[in-house]
């Protein structure tokens, strides 16, 4: 595996992007996501209107992987129904675990976030890649009173 498959153009660009990096005073829910071992530390905010995520943003600091992943997540879920966002979480976590490998499905659903596929070969960095997704999962579980994704 080449490191440039991890630190790909998509990930490097999104890690620096400030498109989704802003405070959201009228958020429906904000949760902190934290990796105590490495210090990735984000606050993820979303706004839900009529079961649709109408806005998603984040603040915080962390490595390129965590920041890119969070930014891509925000872009991906904006405008999507909550139920669909939940499906995306499942697909993303399934991809990272190596359980979902069909590229056509992954690309269709996750779009640019498919760039994290190779993270499954770097166990130490998996936590960085999934941080935002787990945080969103927690928000959805709390908002809808459902179980978190395994």
């Amino acid at each position: 595996m080449d490191l440039r498959q991890i630190y790909s153009q998509i990930i490097m660009e999104n890690s620096r992007s400030n498109r989704h990096r802003y405070e959201m005073p009228d958020a429906t829910a904000t949760e902190r996501g934290y990796n105590p071992s490495c210090g990735d530390d984000i606050h993820l905010s979303i706004k839900i209107e009529d079961d649709v995520i109408t806005d998603a943003s984040f603040t915080g600091t962390g490595c390129a992987i965590s920041q890119a992943s969070t930014s891509l997540l925000c872009g991906l879920i904006k405008g999507k129904p909550v139920t669909e966002a939940k499906e995306l979480i499942k697909t993303f976590l399934g991809m990272i675990k190596g359980e979902i490998t069909d590229d056509s499905i992954l690309e269709e659903e996750l779009e640019d976030a498919v760039a994290f596929k190779n993270i499954s070969t770097m166990p130490q960095r998996v936590r960085c890649a999934v941080l935002a997704w787990r945080t969103l999962d927690l928000i959805i579980a709390k908002e809808t009173g459902t179980e978190m994704t395994e």
């Binding site: 490191l3 071992s37 210090g39 962390g62 920041q67 130490q124």
Partner: protein, 416 residues
């Protein structure tokens, strides 16, 4: 620089022989292990000694009325004597075996601190403490009502002795400090700190986890009350650590954990306890770890503590000099005075975790994070840092490869 290069070329011990004792260097890779402050590697001698113990001397120490029990007891007694000699404690009874430095420091907290501190008292620690000599004192402060205060650092990442002198007073009941920072490499003047503490009647607790592996320690010369360290940071196995304590204090304080071996008489409603150090060693002890530690000490003394200190200092100085050549790099390491072979740094624009991942890809093992020193990192204004830390089995070539790999970091992180 010439002296440094000379030392790196002629370390005063057989570096090739030493390196042949460490099996991890045979791994396909290669692995350039620069994370020795987290835990060192262990030479084959240590590993084999443990195996032999388990094969042929394995019994329950202090209990057996038979040959194997006697062998295990002897292994325990000899290991304790080896540690006592190594740090020059007055008596073997002053050596308590623990799981690690953290437990050693907790023992002091749970026994001496909870029984002796009260509201109005001050606990004085430093800004650079590892969480293991920090959170335990928070706990003591919360339980007893004592106040927790901090000695701050100078701009050269040294302990600020003026700040220390301004903060210590008759209210100060304990000065607990790291004799070597696991992040900065800072080595404050331990003897001076202890001398001043004694003038104010304060107990002294030395976190020597990062000192004992690098510099010869003499507890009688230091005159500290307690001193803690971990075996796994000095070639010994995981799971074994040491608390040195002055006998007169150990005799006075309560036990910590309760159970087998630490008792004398057990009546239904009350018990009396064994003599020190057994009073503090409840249940069956890790003799495998003890013989490993004793063998590690043999190994260190065979190479020579002075050789080790000088060679490691050369490694660190060389590394700092090389790092200073790189653009956009912040180094958190004293430039003056005695210091240990740990160096923290940040590549501006690259998160430490990315740096560590890219270095790992090149086979260079360093650590990224807060290194169990969140308060220090808040002071540094960094969420996290990179850290390289050396042992005497590292080489100049390894540092060169590390520096080379750092160039690739700039490349991959597109830092131009």
């Amino acid at each position: 620089m010439d002296a440094i290069l000379e030392k790196l070329t002629n370390p005063g011990f057989d570096l090739e022989k030493v390196r042949s004792d460490f099996a991890y260097l045979e791994l396909e890779g290669p692995i350039i292990y620069l994370d020795n402050a987290a835990t060192t590697q262990r030479p084959n001698q240590v590993i084999d000694r443990m195996s032999d113990f388990y094969r042929f001397e394995n019994g329950n120490p202090l209990r057996g009325a038979h040959r194997l029990g006697a062998a295990a007891t002897e292994a325990m007694v000899n290991s304790r004597a080896r540690v006592a000699k190594f740090i020059n404690s007055k008596s073997v009874r002053e050596i308590i075996f623990t799981r690690n430095a953290s437990e050693a420091l907790n023992l002091v907290t749970y026994t001496w601190a909870l029984d002796n501190l009260k509201p109005g008292d001050q606990i004085l620690i430093t800004r650079m403490e590892h969480h293991s000599n920090f959170v335990n004192w928070q706990f003591a402060a919360q339980k007893t009502g004592a106040e927790l205060s901090f000695i701050e650092l100078t701009s050269d990442y040294q302990l600020d002795m003026a700040d220390y002198k301004s903060k210590i007073s008759e209210r100060t009941k304990v000065v607990a400090f790291s004799a070597a920072s696991n992040v900065l490499g800072t080595m404050p003047d331990t003897r001076e700190i202890i001398k001043i503490a004694k003038q104010h009647g304060a107990l002294t607790v030395v976190d020597a986890a990062q000192l004992v592996p690098h510099i010869k320690v003499d507890v009688q010369d230091l005159d500290c009350d307690f001193l803690a360290f971990s075996g796994h940071k000095m070639l010994a196995p995981l799971g074994i650590g040491v608390l040195y304590g002055k006998a007169e204090i150990l005799n006075k304080i309560s036990p910590f954990q309760y159970g087998g071996e630490m008792i004398e008489y057990v009546e239904d409603q009350s018990s009396t306890y064994a003599e020190i150090p057994y009073k503090f060693e409840a249940g069956t002890q890790d003799v495998g770890g003890m013989v490993g530690l004793a063998t590690a000490i043999d190994y260190l003394e065979d190479v020579g503590l002075t050789n080790i200190a000088e060679y490691e200092a050369a490694l660190a100085d060389y590394c700092v000099a090389e790092l200073e050549q790189l653009p956009d790099l912040e180094i958190y390491h004293p430039r003056q005075g005695v210091k240990g072979p740990a160096i923290a740094f940040n590549v501006m624009g690259a998160h430490p975790h990315d740096v560590a991942t890219i270095l790992d890809y090149h086979g260079v093992a360093i650590r990224a994070g807060h290194h169990c020193t969140q308060p220090l990192h808040r002071y540094l204004g960094q969420n996290s840092t990179n850290r390289v830390s050396f042992a005497f089995y590292n080489t100049k070539q390894e540092i060169d490869l590390f520096i080379e790999a750092l160039h690739d970091v700039r490349d991959i992180m597109q830092l131009g």
